[in-house]
């Protein structure tokens, strides 16, 4: 038995631990009902990608309608209501949240902490399969009348809304349960299953982000579940919670909904922060600036995120004296966020930067997310919000943080970890074209919405002022959005052709230092032949790798896992 680090010993593996679950061979156990976190992560990616396609097409229907100011494009107001409601609901719950947590969290996080799987693989399988079921239920509401009160489904409209609103409740409830289970699973995994020597402050920043996100999702999502249950009961059993004519209160829904949905904003953005924190140091060849400050500000954002929900409700008739504290706490969030932005910029400073596609997306993220954060500051200010609430300014704001933030971060992560998922490289030139088209078209689509909103154009209305100025900027935004959609074809083709015939990537094409790059690509079923010991943070470019026990593993010729991640069955 050898001591490989203080307090960490290796030795002959024990008979009990050699209880190996061999890799499943049947197609169903390997690809459909797999309990391997990597397969589940990729399943999330594919399913979320399909939903992204559908929800993106709904967005194009919105922009198509707005090409003409008075509904000349032939989309009825009722259809339009259903389309934007479903676009928002699907993008939030079926695309971004499952992709940032389920897909990237599942695929990357266990690899980065040096584990062989998540803590509860079967729970992971269950949580995944709730997600496509929820998606099918949500989209099938189109068949019986799609919900028409926006993704926020404010009562009383949602109480009286079309029958599909009930399906909406069920679908979002299911996806909420899935998200809660994933959150619990991730917290236990990160807390209990890190490789020896990986203290909390040696975790990669993506893992920190997943940790904070999991905390948000398992606490906040049940509040949404309660709100949905009450809405369901009110619609189906006529139980008065929200109907003001029967002693209920629509503002109650807003409180319960935003108590979840504001933290949900951070569920959507924190993992993107984590991805950017991995990509920037790798392609700057420099230690990340302010590791601890980034990690702790992630947690600070998560904690503050619970106490700001009412800033969505300044115009709803909530108690006036609460507006000031909510405004101040909301603005406080700019501090930890600013700490992050500063640290990322400082990471770039003086680095030897390689402009690969993930790096382009990460820097694009810095720009667009910062702009979105700044408009968030306007919206948090009560007097300004009175003017901007319910206008296209809000739409511009949250597309800058969700598309320009979360989705750009997702693209960065997708390009970054694609070689690890498939073992192949994508086409770099095509990837860079994809970035530039996305970046320009994105800004052309959503930037005009700022001034449209400031001039008073309301969101969620299919007709608008036919003055030439409004028509011009709406058409400008619509055409740009078509370009944005078309750029996705490039993205899809790139990955399809890479999957078929891409260059072989090798274990570590980027020269990155986190643990997932220390094993072969695609990652083997058991992840690590031997679990390494971790001696430092992974970002110290220029120093030797801070891992022990990997060399022996690389030297081994046969891929023989010494034991499985699944311990002996015990009760």
């Amino acid at each position: 038995m050898a001591t490989i680090a203080p307090g960490v010993k290796t030795g002959p593996y024990h008979a009990v631990l050699d209880h190996i679950h061999p890799e499943p061979t049947s197609f169903i156990r390997k690809y459909i009902f797999s309990i391997d976190h990597k397969v589940i992560g990729i399943q999330y990616m594919i399913t979320g990608g399909l939903f992204f396609l559908i929800a993106g097409m709904l967005a194009e229907v919105i922009r198509y309608t707005l090409l003409q100011p008075q509904g000349q494009m032939g989309i009825s107001a009722a259809t339009y209501n259903g389309v934007y409601s479903m676009h928002g609901s699907a993008m939030v719950w079926l695309v971004i949240i499952p992709l940032v947590t389920g897909a990237f969290g599942n695929f990357v996080m266990p690899l980065q902490i040096g584990a062989r799987d998540v803590a509860f693989p079967w729970l992971n399988l269950l949580a995944f399969w709730m997600f496509p079921v929820a998606g099918v239920i949500l989209f099938s509401s189109f068949l019986i009348g799609a919900p028409d009160a926006g993704w926020t489904e404010y009562p009383p409209i949602s109480v009286q809304g079309p029958p599909g609103t009930t399906l909406w409740c069920i679908a979002i409830f299911l996806i909420g349960v899935s998200s809660t289970l994933t959150g619990i699973n991730f917290i236990v995994t990160i807390y209990k299953m890190r490789a020896p020597g990986m203290t909390l402050t040696r975790m990669p920043l993506f893992v920190w982000a997943q940790f904070a996100t999991a905390g948000l999702s398992f606490i906040a999502t049940t509040a949404l579940a309660a709100a949905l249950l009450a809405l369901f009961c009110e619609r189906v059993f006529n139980v008065p919670f929200y109907d003001p004519s029967r002693g209920g209160s629509p503002v109650l829904w807003q409180h319960m909904f935003w108590f979840y949905s504001h933290p949900a904003v951070y569920i959507m953005i924190l993992p993107a922060f984590g991805i950017v924190s991995e990509v920037l140091p790798t392609f700057s060849r420099k230690p990340i600036f302010g590791y601890k400050m980034i990690a702790f500000s992630t947690v600070a954002i998560a904690l503050l995120g619970f106490s700001v929900w009412a800033h969505h409700m300044f115009t709803s008739g909530m108690v006036p004296w609460l507006q000031l504290p909510f405004m101040i706490i909301t603005m406080l969030i700019a501090i930890p966020t600013g700490v992050k932005i500063f640290s990322w910029v400082a990471t770039l400073w003086g680095g030897s930067i390689r402009w690969t596609t993930p790096m382009l997306f990460a820097t694009g993220f810095l720009i667009t997310f910062t702009l979105g954060g700044l408009t968030g500051f306007f919206l948090a200010a009560v007097p300004a919000d009175y003017h901007e609430h319910g206008t296209y300014f809000v739409v511009a704001h949250f597309h800058y943080v969700l598309y320009g933030g979360s989705v750009m971060g997702l693209f960065a992560g997708f390009y970054y970890w694609w070689p690890k998922m498939t073992g192949r490289m994508y086409n770099e030139a095509m990837g860079q074209w994809h970035f530039w088209i996305t970046f320009v078209a994105f800004n052309c689509t959503f930037m005009p919405m700022h001034w449209l909103g400031l001039m008073g154009m309301p969101r969620r209305v299919p007709i608008y002022d036919p003055a030439a100025w409004y028509v011009f900027w709406n058409q400008f935004a619509s055409i740009s959005s078509f370009v944005l959609a078309a750029s996705m074809l490039l993205f899809a083709y790139n990955f399809w052709s890479s999957f078929r015939s891409g260059k072989i990537a090798g274990p570590n094409p980027w020269g990155a230092r986190t643990l997932e790059w220390m094993i072969s690509s695609p990652a083997p079923y058991y992840n690590f032949k031997k679990i390494p010991a971790v001696l430092a943070t992974p970002y110290d470019f220029g120093n030797p790798l801070p891992y022990l026990g990997l060399e022996a593993a690389e030297g081994a010729t046969e891929a023989t896992p010494t034991h499985s991640s699944h311990p002996v069955p015990t009760y």
Binding site: P196, T222, V239, F259, P567
Partner: protein
């Protein structure tokens, strides 16, 4: 020291024989399940808290008087005395569950069976009391007004949890009689006990909010 070393394939210092090593694996698996279960209970607390918030909100900021007026009559209050007895039944079952688990740990099987049976009996009695309460509460039913909406939704959710708990405990009892657990490894019983205590404590809040406030 870092976590889950044994699970990851490292020897934990000394201890080479089969039993020791297996014990370490058991311990870490148990710890993970325990943490996961406690987190699940935390998120369940949020579910109840949200409905409790709804009730407080509707009662204090929306309703002009409480209990609300229906057709010109103010609704009566709920029957505190009966609910007090029913609460004692449920709290009592929490205490018997605690002693059931303690007796299991100490290997006193007969006492374990006694307390476990008592717990399930008291839990079922509480459910019976709730059914009686539902039949006699004169507050306009589930969909009549916001009082009924809050009361029946919250106590209904709680009753559902109690029902699940009774089934859960019955299964645990059956499992323990079949030798699934021994006196060192009994995580199922720990989880059942925590769940049952949690259900009791939710009732403390509901009892106060609906009967004593």
């Amino acid at each position: 020291m870092s976590v889950s070393i044994a699970k990851q394939g490292y020897q934990l210092g000394h201890g080479h024989d089969d039993h020791d090593h297996e014990q370490v694996i058991y311990q870490e698996t148990r710890d993970m399940r325990l943490l996961g279960f406690v987190l699940f209970l935390c998120s369940d607390v949020v579910l109840f808290s949200s409905f409790i918030f709804a009730y407080i909100y509707l009662r204090t900021t929306v309703a002009p008087i409480w209990p609300p007026m229906i057709d010109g009559h103010q609704l009566p209050r709920l029957d505190t005395a009966f609910a007090a007895v029913n609460s004692v039944v449920l709290f009592g079952s929490g205490v018997t569950m605690h002693y059931a688990l303690e007796n299991w740990k100490h290997g006193t099987r007969a006492m374990y069976n006694l307390f476990m049976g008592l717990t399930i009996l008291l839990g079922a009695m509480f459910l019976g009391g709730q059914a009686y309460e539902y039949a006699h509460a004169q507050i306009g039913g589930w969909s009549g007004n916001t009082f009924g909406a809050s009361f029946f939704t919250l106590t209904g959710m709680h009753g559902f949890h109690v029902f699940v708990g009774v089934v859960f405990l019955a299964v645990l009892w059956w499992q323990s009689s079949r030798g699934v657990y021994d006196h060192e490894r009994y995580f199922g019983l720990t989880a059942g006990t925590l769940y049952w205590h949690f259900v009791d404590v939710i009732w403390v809040a509901l009892f106060f909010l609906f009967y004593l406030w």
